[in-house]
Amino acid sequence: MDIIKLENVSFKYGSGKKKEHDLKDISLSIRAGECVIITGESGCGKTTLTRILNGLCPNYHEGVLKGKYILDGETVFYADGDKTVDIDDDYKKSIDDIGTVVGNVFQDPRSQFFAVNTTDEIVLAMENRNFSRERMRKRIEETDELMGIRKLLDKSLFKLSSGEKQKVAIASAVSVEPKVILLDEPSANLDPEGMESLGQLLERLKCKGYTIVLSEHRLNYLKHIADRMIVMSYGQIKKEYSRDEMLKLSDIEMIGMGLRVLSDISPFKPSGRKLGDNPVLRVERLCCKRGRRMIFTDITAGFYRGQVTAITGHNGAGKTTFCKIITGEIRQSKGTVSIYGEVASVKKRIKDCFFVGQDADYQIFTPTVLQEVTLNTYVSADDKKVCRILESFDLWEYRNRHPASLSGGQKQRVLLAAALLRDRPILILDEPTSGLDGRHMRIIAEYLREAADKGKCVLVITHDREFINIAADETLNIGK
């Protein structure tokens, strides 16, 4: 039986004045108990499709909607032919009604958690649906049996790892016993072990009879449980693959579609690439302790011009702390950081390093891309160098746009452009490919390789094994 059925669904955000649809003529059926992956390049309409499925479009994100949606045998909305769905007459279910059938797990746990305590978060949906206390307690027990959440109960959400947060988010969705679990890029912030655990959890949920629909870029952890893969492009379904067809897709075919590969990622092989024999940056016996907790100890390594080094390690190992010590933002407990052979003061480290954080929103300060890139550089906006750099990052046409209006990948490129204009010898990036599709991940890898070829020493904090194999010359594992 089809639990989800979309017929000729189209959607445009806003008042519908723009010509292009965000979703165009989507027809899709999902059977009960299936696991379906929705994938595609950034901007293809995956997230909009998930918003149609959970009712956020058009009830929360307004827009012009057409077509028909049947959920668990009941009509959610229906408009004849080319007629627009009228929210008052044609839309039959509220977001809340849909929420009893479709449980949601969003991409960023930081902004989907309402509570401070894990138990409060898990029971939230049950409280809002007026479950009795006995039923809530029973559901917590049942969810614990299914997912093993007992040791996560009554904890502060701020103290959990990314994987644990994701588990709490899924437990919150599962607590109301929906029939469908809809996940939007659930692996975006997870390390490889976290992804594996997530894959195992989703397999357990599927065995229990839940229908699982995921919007995802990272696909190889799902290949054992996915029944179908739907590839979207420019708001339309480009192609649907059955499980067998999906598993037969080669890496070249996946790369050709702008996607990440399905095959297991081969072990990394260092390239030995570097410029010169002396390291630009050297850390000797670096230790970091916070209170009683030893974050990492005794790290000695050299980083060279022309080299891209991937800084790896499980979540909480201290990768970001390590890089912030290098940039001078945090003081080390022991050890030294040297730049060009001399022990570098905090001031020197800040002057010689540029750190591009994971979340671009914290790093946008000005109203245009041009101003953002040239901010405090003493380089004029008319300078040819600025034009060249923006063109190389495909940002010239957006130069007068507010950076906040750009996509995540574009914002990342604005920050990279700002870094290169400053001409500092050491460039450090934190998870630059998190949430990026295959094509944009490879573009970032290309930019970093170019930066290294121009003489920069590049350090990248990353879990992304596919990216490491393409971009990195060396790896340094923190925490082993």
Partner: protein, 231 residues
């Protein structure tokens, strides 16, 4: 037993002391209120939570004594008088602020506080701890763009520093508000609708006892203030 004190009793006692502290006339009654607040909060949260506020009160007291006969200090002594009283109110607020949010919301719901207020309070408690994290992340990013790294910037271009802090903060806040609302909507959160809190709010004998004790103490302090007692 006091650590599990019903949150409605904590709220009631907080309001009682906060309202009373501003109108007490004698210093003796203010000290008595301070002692009550310190003992009350220590029994619920432990003495360590109260010590910083007690030190603050002592500091303000010393400053008041030093400025007692000073000239050209304007209304500073009067401000200090009220600042000390505010410290007493803050000590009483601690047991409410440190209560688990879910239990606090459940208690407010039993007190028939409107849902708009309880949801707003839940969001406030959820995001107050993260405001400093967000600000740190912004300041960290500003370093690499040489924003606010020199004291000259704050003197010559304070409006720019303000703008470069406000812009990313607003972008983040708007995004988080948007995502949080969507998350709340799909989980059935409504301003008018059925809602059953997970935590059961029930007054035990110990809670009634604590309520009576706090009322008695308040009565004694008021009588002291009115001069009805020999001390």
């Amino acid at each position: 037993m006091m650590r599990e004190l019903d949150i409605r009793v904590r709220i009631f006692s907080m309001i009682l002391v906060a309202a009373g502290i501003l109108v007490l006339k004698t210093e003796l009654s203010v000290y008595a209120a301070l002692i009550f607040a310190a003992v009350w909060t220590s029994l619920i949260l432990g003495i360590k939570k109260v010590l910083p506020q007690l030190c603050l009160f002592a500091g303000l007291e010393i400053l008041l004594i030093l400025l007692k006969d000073a000239q050209h200090v304007g209304n500073l002594p009067l401000l200090l008088v009220y600042a000390r009283r505010l410290v007493v109110a803050v000590i009483m607020a601690y047991p409410v602020a440190k209560a688990p949010t879910g239990k606090l919301i459940a208690s407010l719901d039993r007190l028939r506080v409107p849902r708009t207020a309880t949801i707003s309070l839940a969001v406030l408690f959820r995001f107050m701890p993260t405001v400093s994290i967000e600000y740190s992340a912004i300041r960290s990013a500003q370093r690499y763009r040489e924003i606010g790294t020199s004291w000259k910037d704050f003197i010559v271009k304070p409006y720019k520093i303000f703008e470069y802090t406000l812009v990313p903060l607003l972008i983040r806040t708007t995004k988080v508000a948007d995502e949080l609302t969507a998350s709340a909507e799909v989980r059935g959160m409504k301003l008018n609708g059925e809602y059953n809190p997970y935590y059961e709010v029930k007054m035990r004998a110990a809670d009634w006892g604590a309520l009576v004790v706090s009322l008695l103490c308040a009565a004694v302090i008021v009588c002291m203030d009115l001069g009805m007692l020999p001390f």
